[in-house]
């Protein structure tokens, strides 16, 4: 029983990180109709920048957080402006291949700029252990679950009540009509990339906080991918919850079936989900079938 609870809690913690990155996928898909295969790499860059700030500038929590968020916004905007905007109007296949090219560039750039060794992100918190009954949990793990829940609420409110959020939904639903209504689609796209970069970046920083930074971190993107599919590519909140589900499934599969299963449980799950409900649990049904 204790083993099960332990697995569940650590599954929730890693799942929250997947959820954050998956929300990054969903934000971009929802407003631009693209799957951004460079999401994992963007997550990783933000985490590495946070680490660089913490080792060179200051280890203060707020400095690191503000620096990382600014860097993520900048990264998202630059990518949107330089790489994605020129591809507007091209077929989806071409645009998605561009994000794959981007992923390759970012990944090797990270290896080129930073080294290939794992580093711990030390900002004086996150590594402490809290005892819940007889189970020890890292504070960083608890914090990321809390962060995911907070962000879910914030994003729900943003899309529901704010003018910009409604504009983003409008562009996603029908960009031509939105343009006619005076909404700038390019601004919405830029905002989506920046927001996605920040949300996924938060996931990356929390990962670095609870575990370690390493060049293998881009795989987080691949792991978060099943979460987005599970929750629905166009469902931002669903993706967050999908992350939690995938995290738990993976951890249970790893704990009871063997470590090899841990790696593929998520993928096996999306294959099943895609067969039964291609649009995900919370997604909208608009997938064409043959």
């Amino acid at each position: 029983m204790q083993y099960l609870v332990q697995l569940l809690i650590s599954g929730l913690a890693i799942g929250a990180i997947y959820g954050l990155i998956a929300m990054g996928f969903a934000v971009i898909y929802k407003s631009t109709g693209l799957v951004n295969f460079a999401q994992g790499e963007m997550t990783m860059i933000t985490a590495y920048i946070a680490w660089t700030i913490s080792t060179t500038v200051s280890g203060n929590v707020f400095v690191v957080a503000m620096g990382a968020i600014l860097a993520a916004v900048l990264l998202g905007l630059v990518i949107e402006r330089l790489v994605m905007r020129p591809m507007l109007g091209e077929p989806v296949f071409a645009t998605v291949m561009v994000t794959i090219g981007l992923a390759v560039i970012l990944r090797s750039a990270i290896n080129f700029i930073w080294d290939a060794y794992p580093h711990g992100l030390d900002i004086g918190m996150g590594r402490g252990i809290v005892h819940l009954g007889s189970i020890g949990v890292r504070t960083g793990q608890l914090a990321v679950i809390a962060a995911l829940l907070l962000l879910l609420a914030a994003i729900w409110a943003f899309f529901r009540y704010s003018k910009v959020g409604v504009a983003m939904r409008a562009v996603a639903a029908d960009d031509r009509t939105a343009l006619l209504m005076g909404i700038s689609a390019t601004k919405v796209h830029a905002l989506a990339w920046a927001a996605s970069s920040v949300i996924a970046g938060i996931g990356g920083v929390f990962f670095a906080l609870s575990y370690d930074l390493s060049p293998a971190m881009f795989q987080l993107g691949l792991k978060a991918f099943p979460a987005t599919i599970l929750g629905g590519l166009d469902a931002v909140l669903g993706s967050g919850l999908g992350g939690l589900l995938i995290g738990i499934t993976e951890n249970l599969a790893g704990g009871y079936l063997g470590s090899g299963m841990k790696e593929v449980a998520g993928f096996a799950m999306i294959i099943v989900v895609l067969m039964v409900r291609p649009f995900g649990i919370f997604g909208e049904r608009d997938i064409e079938r043959v």
Partner: protein, 348 residues
């Protein structure tokens, strides 16, 4: 006076080679390739081998992605399955290499049925996602089936001896690769000409229209999947023999992306494009290294320490630039040049 390229019958339209100069240049190229193993040093020869093996794999993916328009991000899965099928049959159970090659084609083809049959209901990105998942799952399956595949330890593979001809030397093995690549090129060109190939292209261009014309979408998509996996598996076996060692690490996920990059750079949906793209992508790192070393010794040093990273950055950059500025790839550029040449000084 007529200028330009005219086709007056369907026979001319589907002809494998449509003009005498093409015959001539094809023959010259073939002779050059036959002479190459005796003329090149072993360093250059290794590039030729890699090009020939990669061409085989790229042509395999081209049937699926180029002709039929189904995006696969998991082709490295078929590549590794083929390599393991060959290694297990030949090195472990001491079957003759020909049986090994047959197995290297058939096993991935069967695997493609398993992954293809359910996922062909999905289109575009969703298919890309299931194939991506497949390539990760197959790696785990291989690592878990230790009794058959030695798990993470991998399997040693010898150069084969077929019909009492030994392909042990580099030159001999290059001929084997040349033979298989040539056969594959011939086969895929002919598939494109045939009824099946036209059905593939119809599905790619407009699947609803294709279905209205009486093309069984599911059957043809599955057929494209199986053919593509068969060819890719054989390329995998060749690559395994080239590496002389088959392990999961030898087939990184990046290969899937590299293969798509080759098709994009060459020109999607064209066999010639697959060949041109392969040559460019395989030689690109080497060409950059040469250019760098011309500039300064210091840059050369940077390139050696960060060679792998710069190489992959270059891949990414080339993919993006081609998609942005020449979406029809090298073949498209070639057609433009040809047209300009024929029509000059007129523009049309």
């Amino acid at each position: 006076m007529r200028t330009g390229d005219y086709k007056q019958s369907y026979g001319e339209l589907v002809a494998l080679i449509d003009s005498p100069p093409v015959w001539l240049w094809s023959a010259v190229l073939l002779l050059a390739l036959i002479a190459a193993p005796h003329l090149l040093n072993s360093y250059a020869l290794s590039f030729l081998m890699i090009i020939l093996i990669t061409v085989t794999g790229a042509l395999g993916l081209n049937i699926l992605t180029g002709y039929t328009g189904l995006i696969s991000l998991g082709h490295v899965g078929f590549l590794v399955t083929g390599a393991y099928a060959y290694a297990v049959l030949v090195s472990k159970y001491h079957m003759p290499p020909l049986v090994g090659f047959l197995g290297a084609g058939v096993v991935p083809a069967l695997a493609s049925l398993i992954v293809g049959a359910p996922s062909l209901r999905l289109k575009g990105l969703y298919l890309a996602i299931t194939t991506l998942a497949f390539s990760f799952i197959i790696n785990t399956v291989i690592l878990e089936m230790r009794w058959l595949t030695n798990g993470a330890r991998g399997i040693q593979v010898q150069r084969p001896e077929i019909l009492s001809i030994s392909f042990d030397g580099d030159a001999a093995f290059t001929y084997l690769c040349l033979g298989i690549a040539g056969l594959t090129l011939f086969a895929t060109l002919n598939i494109r000409r045939s009824r099946v190939g036209r059905a593939f292209v119809a599905i790619r261009d407009n699947d609803t229209a294709a279905r209205v014309m009486g093309i069984n979408l599911h059957a043809y998509k599955l057929f494209a999947f199986v053919t593509s996996a068969f060819i890719t598996g054989i390329a995998g076996a060749l690559y395994g023999i080239y590496l002389s060692f088959v392990s999961v690490e030898g087939f990184p996920f990046l290969l899937s992306i590299e293969a798509l990059a080759i098709l994009i750079v060459g020109g999607l949906g064209s066999a010639l494009g697959a060949v041109l793209g392969t040559v460019l992508i395989v030689l690109l790192p080497e060409a950059t290294r040469l250019v760098f070393s011309l500039f300064s010794a210091q840059m050369d040093a940077t390139f050696t320490t960060g060679a792998q990273e710069l190489k992959s950055m270059l891949y990414g950059l080339v993919i993006i630039l081609f998609l942005r500025f020449q979406p029809r790839g090298l073949v498209g550029a070639w057609h433009d040049i040809k047209r300009t040449w024929v029509h000059w000084p007129l523009r049309y």
